[in-house]
Symmetry: none
């Protein structure tokens, strides 16, 4: 058994709790303290500055690229070798918690501190970074920063994206001072490992703190716009209505039926937004817009689900005399992670005496973008309350966070010593 | 067959088109000329003065009561007998047309002119009037003037109502000079007949210009608030979700099923507002609020529909582990119109050789308030474009307006000669 290092759990936890207060708010629905730190807002900017400060205090060289991704380097003996990269994101959804994304970033910084404390010298550079707008909540495309880095989305296209107020990514990067000059297509790493909370119940159900992620399931985001006709609620007969709101509602209900049917495997469907504009109680809605979020660990079954949905909507539109328009927001195929990196993670967990399970990720992660340019894998950390996230109830206890970060630290150390 | 009179269609149309320009505006959405004449505004005041001028020119005695309702009298032989009253309203919604309400008022004035031209002397007084704030758009209570006249709403309560700027009905009546001294609880009429556009497609579909209204259906407005739990769209298993948006959508779909089933008679259900707040594509909605507008020509079936809906929502809430709250916004029972007056209208239409259909009113009208104090009925006039109203597209052609007003004129004449 090779010698292992251990991170400082109290220090990691203090850092997590400190960053939690940046963008912190009192959540009415849960009565808990939540985090609202949407990408490139003032709160995000303050959190970015705090992370950069911690990186600098750890003696790391910090650089910012043209999409606002931040990287910090701990030099190795041979600077010519590709680095080992750790990272995740620090932006949150509007009703977020303290662990989603931030654990992988603050955990990575803690790994650097631990390497410093142990006086460990690595062969390869080790880097920790965070990517811009992973959640996709503000500018509509998730994993934005890592997608630009991987070359899936051109920089100028990303810069032109606008939020609900029409502000562009480029303007906001400039405004908060994170419009860096490093090239977004960064030097190819030797390996990328992202530590992230599971956001699901599998680990807790299996009674383990740690998961080794085999890949990310397919994700499909579409917007459906239904155009009907406004009319008087009291005088318009049911059969002569063109109710855009009703058609949108029927789609929401059908999506749940599709999930329950088992017809499409482990399909998960969510309608997170439902907008009929400035509606009036006594006027039939003439327009409705919903977003449809589909997830599936099987590409073929995902395609089948999208096709069924399209056919269902078309038939529904004809039946109700409304017109429907689909807009593709995002689509990612199943992304399998690198087997060799998974084996390193497994061996590391064994060395640490930590039981683990292997699992597919239900959520999208920056790792699925970076996997396109270098060997990639992820470490999952168990969450409580069924692993609920995107809510202030999101919680992973200090031991789980510590164990996951220990796996990250030792796996990174192994890889960083490989010639 | 008794002798019939015919109104002057060109004169009626000229009057309609002239009043249309008072409060006229260019509507962006439709590119048409619309009418914005909210109650007790300067535009309403000018329209009121124009109507009073036309009444005076027709030799009528004009009086204004303490809620701003205006009445004009053509004396009969026996002043001691209760009068026959015609009327409606001249206020409009913010995006109104030229016919809603005004047809019944200007048609009534045209009937007076026609009686003058024909030198007809009636046994009873004949009156034409218009009521304050029928639309309820500015001060929040529709049929306000007629409701005060019928005694449903006390005068001082009506006077204290405020608009969005905090201006009271009493102040505005004073400001525009329509704070009359006639008592709002007016002498009980022998009969009241209101001529109004249908605001629906039934007459046009039946190929007739005229409808005889059997009553106003029951109206129920409720707000439903669903509280679930926010969670991650990709990682939260379907069976452990508490999706507030899905529950609200299922209610919308069930309401349509209820209408289609026939189980609740001629139920009409509309969800005009559907709000899940600042939703996010990848977050399960934790809250949803919808309004439910129910209409039914049968009170018992309306009660059954409300009960079924309440039970359905309760079961749904248990199945999805969400909590639901109902708020009552409004509820009015069915108002049946007087059978004898309906028969007079039918006989009149037959004499004139005008085909007609009988129908319930889906919308609220001053007639449903006046029905509480005297025998009441309504004449409907067909509208084009499916009878659409509350938009500049609202249009009833000169023949339809003329035929409806001919029925009004001759029915009033018959009633005014009854001892």
């Amino acid at each position: 058994m090779t010698s292992t290092i251990r991170i400082n759990r109290e220090r990691l936890w203090r850092t997590l709790m400190e960053l939690k207060e940046i963008g912190g708010y009192d959540d009415e629905a849960t009565g808990l303290r939540g985090v609202r730190r949407l990408a490139l807002t003032d709160a995000d900017a303050e959190a970015r500055r705090r992370c950069v400060q911690w990186m600098t205090e750890a003696g790391l060289d910090v650089r910012v690229d043209r999409i606002g991704n931040v990287y910090a380097t701990r030099p190795g003996r041979d600077r010519t070798l590709p680095c080992v990269l750790m990272g995740s994101h620090i932006d949150t959804v509007a009703t977020g918690g303290a662990f989603d994304g931030t654990l992988g970033v603050l955990g990575g910084i803690e790994v650097m501190r631990t390497l410093n404390d142990a006086g460990v010298e690595t062969l390869r550079d080790v880097e920790v970074g965070f990517f811009t707008e992973e959640e996709g909540v503000r500018f509509g495309i998730d994993m934005l920063g890592s997608a630009v880095t991987a070359g899936r989305i051109p920089l100028d296209q990303a810069h032109k994206l606008t939020d609900a107020d029409g502000k562009t990514v480029e303007e906001e990067l400039l405004r908060i001072g994170f419009d860096g000059d490093a090239h977004e297509r960064r030097p190819i790493p030797y390996a990328y490992i992202e530590c992230h909370i599971e956001q699901g119940p599998l680990l807790a159900d299996a009674g383990v703190d740690v998961g080794i992620v085999e890949g990310v399931q397919s994700i499909s985001w579409q917007r459906l716009i239904v155009a009907g006709e406004a009319a008087h609620a009291g005088t318009t007969p049911i059969e002569s209505r063109h109710d855009a709101g009703l058609v949108a509602a029927a789609v929401v209900v059908e999506l749940r039926r599709m999930c329950d049917s088992g017809e499409f495997g482990r399909l998960r469907a969510t309608v997170g937004t439902f907008d009929i504009g400035a509606g009036q109680t006594n006027v039939i809605p003439h327009r409705a817009t919903i977003t449809v979020d589909l997830r599936n660990p099987d590409d073929k079954l995902m395609t089948a689900a999208e096709q069924h949905l399209a056919d269902y909507v078309e038939a529904l539109a004809q039946a109700h005399g409304v017109t429907t328009t689909w807009e593709r927001m995002a689509k990612t195929a199943v992304v399998p992670f690198d087997a060799a990196i998974q084996d390193v993670l497994a061996a590391t967990a064994d060395d640490l005496g930590l039981p683990y399970v292997r699992a597919m990720s239900g959520a999208g992660h920056d790792a699925q973008e970076i996997a396109a340019i270098c060997p990639t894998a992820m470490v999952f950390v168990a969450g409580e309350h069924g692993g609920i996230s995107h809510t202030p109830r999101e919680y992973s206890n200090p031991d789980a966070c510590g164990n996951g970060t220990d796996v990250l630290a030792n796996a990174v150390l192994r890889l960083a010593q490989q010639p």
